[in-house]
């Protein structure tokens, strides 16, 4: 198949899946089979695309002009493929997990749930293959709208409140900052197409670039840069599989992916380093990742703690881009992948704990390792990946980011990264450690009869993602090759 038909196929999987899901709504087994089949097809398509990956960004399709000089464009480039593969793989895993979770939790409206789930993934594919800012923006907004029903799935007042914050912040930032930024880009450069090396002329007014950078960084609210991060904890009212896929992978990664893509393909590293506001934003990112870690330490609710940890980890990617050095971009790209696998494992574990033992608070988890050794073991591995310690994939992303800060000569930020990793150990890694050893002398020897794990489907998913965390440490080669092909990552 040609590139353009592959991209189309990849985009059409989700809409077809939705039709299938809606038609088979009354037969749950068939319905879930449709989801699994669709995600498997999507992974295959994306892998084939990876095999045919051309150099640079290749426009595969464009529409007629919607507005003068503005049209919808689809393009294939390394960063997009990376994001598409991660999202589709984790869609498959999450569907498997959701089967176990949703059924044992007896959630209502499961057909709607799976349909909107597929729709969100469709939007993510659109974001991944967007060839210009307008297309990106279109799918970005669609993703916000299509995830809203998932966030308020429970239908309670609390869920609606969270949904309101979610929608308000994401829609608000995108309309108030992102849209003007797109407009200003078009105004200044005459194009919004993603171009390796950036679209701006060398003599573009640096003040305009500065303003644009600020607008983009805050406009992409999904990247959860402080002070526009409140939507992320608010959205944790969603069922756990939603939090897992959307708020560890699809939505938040769509945010930092957009930032990375804009940094590389709209600004280009040279122009990026010319923008004066970059430095200011860089330190905001540094502040963001530390502050979110500190807030996370104070959260007793496990999901809220994970949410703030996500805010912190997202700032790593923004920081990587804003460093405007090749190692920073590489680190940012790696961080998208590593954090996706690590965080989704953590969310899966949180859901498994809820299903098996109905516990949501961190303080209740001491000693739980006796009942759920497998889940807690996976939790430990994943938290190591978030911290950035061997033998997990997170090591590499943290390594490159550190390299980037040194390359850029920002020692203060290097210190912030180290400090944040230490904080991570305190608020994440200690949870599974306490689950195995209570340190208060009340440890009881475990017998096999005490073991009470989550449903098999959940454990399968957790096992897979936790294994991935380790595999990405042992064999980061293919990932690094792919990332090195991103213009500016310096392969």
């Amino acid at each position: 198949m040609s590139l353009s038909s592959l991209v189309f196929a990849s985009l059409s999987v989700a809409p077809l899946a939705i039709i299938g899901i809606c038609l088979s709504g009354s037969r749950p087994n068939l319905r879930e089979a449709v989801s699994i089949l669709a995600s498997a097809i999507l992974i295959t398509l994306n892998l084939v695309l990876l095999g045919q990956l051309p150099d640079g960004a290749v426009t595969t399709w464009h529409s007629g002009e919607m507005l003068p000089g503005l049209r919808l464009e689809l393009a294939v480039e390394p960063l997009g493929i990376l994001f598409a593969i991660i999202a589709s793989t984790l869609w498959l895993v999450t569907v498997v997990y959701a089967i176990g979770y949703m059924r044992s939790h007896e959630e209502q409206n499961q057909t709607r749930f799976y349909a909107f789930f597929a729709l969100s993934i469709g939007c993510v594919m659109g974001i991944a293959f967007a060839g210009n800012l307008l297309t990106l923006f279109l799918f970005y907004e669609l993703l916000t709208l299509s995830t809203w029903p998932l966030v308020v799935h429970a239908g309670t007042d609390k869920a609606r409140q969270g949904g309101g914050v979610y929608l308000g912040l994401l829609l608000g930032t995108s309309v108030l900052f992102f849209l003007p930024a797109i407009f200003l880009t078009w105004w200044t450069a005459g194009t919004v197409t993603f171009t390796p090396g950036g679209v701006f002329n060398a003599d573009t007014n640096p003040v305009v670039l500065s303003v644009l950078l600020v607008l983009f960084v805050f406009g992409v609210g999904k990247a959860a840069m402080m002070p526009f991060h409140r939507w992320l904890p608010a959205a944790m009212v969603a069922p756990t599989p939603v939090s897992a896929l959307l708020h560890a992978v699809a939505v938040v990664k769509a945010g930092v992916f957009s930032i990375l893509k804009i940094g590389v393909y709209i600004f280009g590293l040279e122009q990026l380093s010319a923008a004066e506001s970059r430095e200011w934003l860089l330190y905001l990112a540094g502040f963001s990742l530390l502050a979110a870690s500190i807030v996370a330490m104070r959260q007793d609710n496990l999901k809220a703690r994970l949410a703030y940890s996500t805010v912190s980890q997202l700032a790593y990617v923004s920081l990587g881009v804003l460093l405007a050095v090749p190692a920073g971009v590489t680190g940012g790209g790696l961080q998208i992948a590593m954090h996706a696998f690590g965080k989704i494992t953590l969310f899966f574990c949180a859901g498994a704990i809820l299903v098996a033992s109905h516990k949501t608070r961190v303080s209740e988890l001491s000693g739980l390792g006796r009942q759920m050794p497998f889940t807690m073991g996976a939790f430990l591995l994943a938290s190591l990946s978030i911290v950035g310690l061997p033998p997990t994939g997170g090591t590499w992303s943290k390594f490159y980011l550190m390299l980037g800060t040194l390359e850029a000569g920002a020692l203060l930020l290097a210190a912030a990264l180290i400090l944040s990793s230490l904080l991570n150990i305190v608020y994440l890694t200690l949870i599974p450690v306490r689950a195995f050893w209570r340190f208060d002398g009340r440890d009881v020897p475990a017998s096999r009869a005490d073991i009470q794990e989550a449903p098999l489907a959940c454990c399968l998913a957790i096992g897979f993602t936790a294994t991935c965390c380790v595999m990405l440490f042992l064999f980061p080669g293919p990932l690094l090759t792919l990332i090195s092909r991103i213009p500016g990552a310096g392969g």
């Binding site: 919607m66 507005l67 279109l138 029903p149 308020v152 239908g155 929608l167 608000g172 108030l176 849209l179």
Partner: protein, 493 residues
């Protein structure tokens, strides 16, 4: 093409109305009214393509050439407004049956359609005529029939609303008449093209200013520009649902047309000192309308009333475009005129369907409507998204051009205000979405109960048009561009 084409869209409903009054059976009256409206629409389509290809079309009534006789003069601006009004009018009449049968007593249904046709004739007449006094006559025809239509609302509060509208509307019409009288006194002509040639030669005439002031205030009353909007929420809320759709999608659009026509074709304010002062006033009032209208809409407990206030806000957007005063600004204003007719048409028609099935437009009774009427609700949400201005919908095109016009004038604060105004739209639209897809109160099992097929088809069609014109915006954009160019191009012809 037919040489009578410019007058046909007006003539058809004007003759059709008394003919309709002769029909005794309401169903027959409905069929007849639909037929007339569809024919008028086909005529405007043909008129539009002719104007598009061959330029300005003129028709001298009774063979008396302008400036002695009444001349119908169709340029791109007229053609665009005619197209919107007749198209939406025909669609609404086609969809009206179920809702009218529910809300209007059996004896008055036939007369309802007579009034509808008269109103349509008036609105089309305003948009087609090139004579200032003839314009006033058609304004009165449309206004009087509108008062009657509003008064037919389902409960007695409609009478009060109609009365309010009558008072305000009459004041507006009187002001317009006084203005036209001044113009006649000054120049001795009533033909707008002729006026346009003579008035600039008068210099900075005080009488001309007074005439313009009277006309602007009068038209703004009709347009319901803040703070002259007070009649609108009541009239929209209390009128029969179908009338509300009709008014929201057509009547204010025609008023905007009159304002543009008088400002740029008759008075040529673009060359005048007064223009800059007025531009500021228009922009300021427009911005206030956007924020005040949207804020009230956000806190309104009744969806119909909320949408009425949303109309006040959207008129604000159009007036902002007008106030920017450049070709781009005017173009944005006209694009929004076109797109807003599609959005509000779909929104109010879907609302009419809800009222038909639920019996109320209160938020509390609309809980769970998304399950009862999935298609109509989806259409409502789609049109609402278009109203917000999300890319991929017609509303985005409107907002883009408005922002473009503001940026071209370096009005960055205005740009920010426009975007913030769009966000407020999102708040009240989303309030509906939350309600529509919320679990219903109590344990009542919800039966699926869609709107009648004919109505549903029109609702879905209008909503899909919002989508279509979001991707292929050539029709409104190029027509509006051409019309704005012709108005501000400097050449009066």
């Amino acid at each position: 093409m037919l040489s009578q084409l410019p007058v046909l869209p007006v003539l058809l409903p004007l003759i059709g109305a008394p003919a309709c009054a002769l029909l005794r059976r309401p169903t027959l009256a409905w069929v007849f009214a639909c037929l007339v409206a569809v024919l008028a629409f086909l005529c405007t389509v043909s008129l539009f393509t002719t104007t598009w290809q061959e330029g300005v079309q003129t028709y001298a009534l009774g063979g008396w050439p302008s400036p002695w006789g009444i001349e119908y003069r169709i340029d791109l601006l007229n053609a665009l407004v005619l197209l919107v009004v007749s198209g939406i009018g025909a669609a609404i009449l086609l969809a009206s049956r179920a809702s009218v049968w529910q809300e209007i007593g059996e004896t008055r249904r036939g007369l309802f359609y007579v009034a509808c046709l008269l109103c349509l004739a008036g609105l089309l007449g305003i948009a087609a005529t090139g004579d200032a006094f003839n314009l006033f006559v058609f304004l009165e025809i449309s206004s009087l029939s509108t008062y009657a239509l509003v008064a037919m609302g389902p409960d007695r509060r409609a009478l009060l609303a109609a009365y309010n509208y009558l008072i305000m509307g009459t004041i507006g019409a009187t002001f317009i008449l006084i203005g036209i009288g001044f113009l006649y006194m000054l120049t001795g002509t009533l033909s707008m093209a002729d006026l346009g040639e003579r008035l600039p030669a008068m210099g900075e005439s005080r009488t001309a200013f007074a005439a313009y002031a009277f006309i602007v205030v009068g038209v703004c009353l009709k347009l319901a520009l803040f703070p002259l909007h007070l009649w609108l929420p009541g009239a929209y809320t209390r009128a029969p649902s179908i009338v509300t759709v009709f008014l929201a999608a057509t009547s204010t659009k025609v008023a905007l047309y009159v304002l543009i026509r008088f400002t740029y074709s008759v008075f040529h304010l673009e060359f005048s000192q007064l223009a800059q002062a007025l531009d500021t006033v228009f922009i300021a009032l427009g911005v206030i309308a956007v924020f005040a209208g949207s804020l009230v809409a956000i806190f309104e407990a009744d969806l119909k009333r909320g949408l009425a206030y949303s109309s006040v806000a959207q008129i604000g957007f159009m007036v902002i475009g007008l106030g920017i005063g450049t070709v781009e600004g005017l173009q944005a204003s006209l694009i929004h005129l076109f797109n807003h007719a599609l959005m509000k048409g779909a929104l109010f028609l879907a609302l009419a369907a809800f009222i038909l099935r639920v019996g109320s437009s209160n938020f509390s009774s609309l809980r769970g409507i998304g399950r009862r009427m999935p298609l109509a609700t989806a259409a409502f949400v789609l049109a609402g998204i278009s109203l917000i201005g999300i890319p991929g919908t017609a509303g985005f095109i409107s907002k883009w051009y408005l922002v473009l016009a503001a940026a071209a004038q370096q009005q960055w604060i205005l740009l920010g205000l426009i975007l913030a105004g769009s966000l407020l739209t999102a708040v009240y639209i989303w309030r509906f979405v939350e309600t529509a897809y919320a679990e219903p109160e109590g344990d009542s099992v919800i039966q699926r109960n869609e709107a009648p097929l004919g109505m549903l088809l029109v609702i879905v069609l209008l909503a899909l048009l919002n989508l279509y014109f979001g991707f292929d915006s050539r029709l409104p954009v190029e027509t509006a561009g051409g019309a704005a160019q012709a108005l501000l191009g400097g050449d009066a012809s």
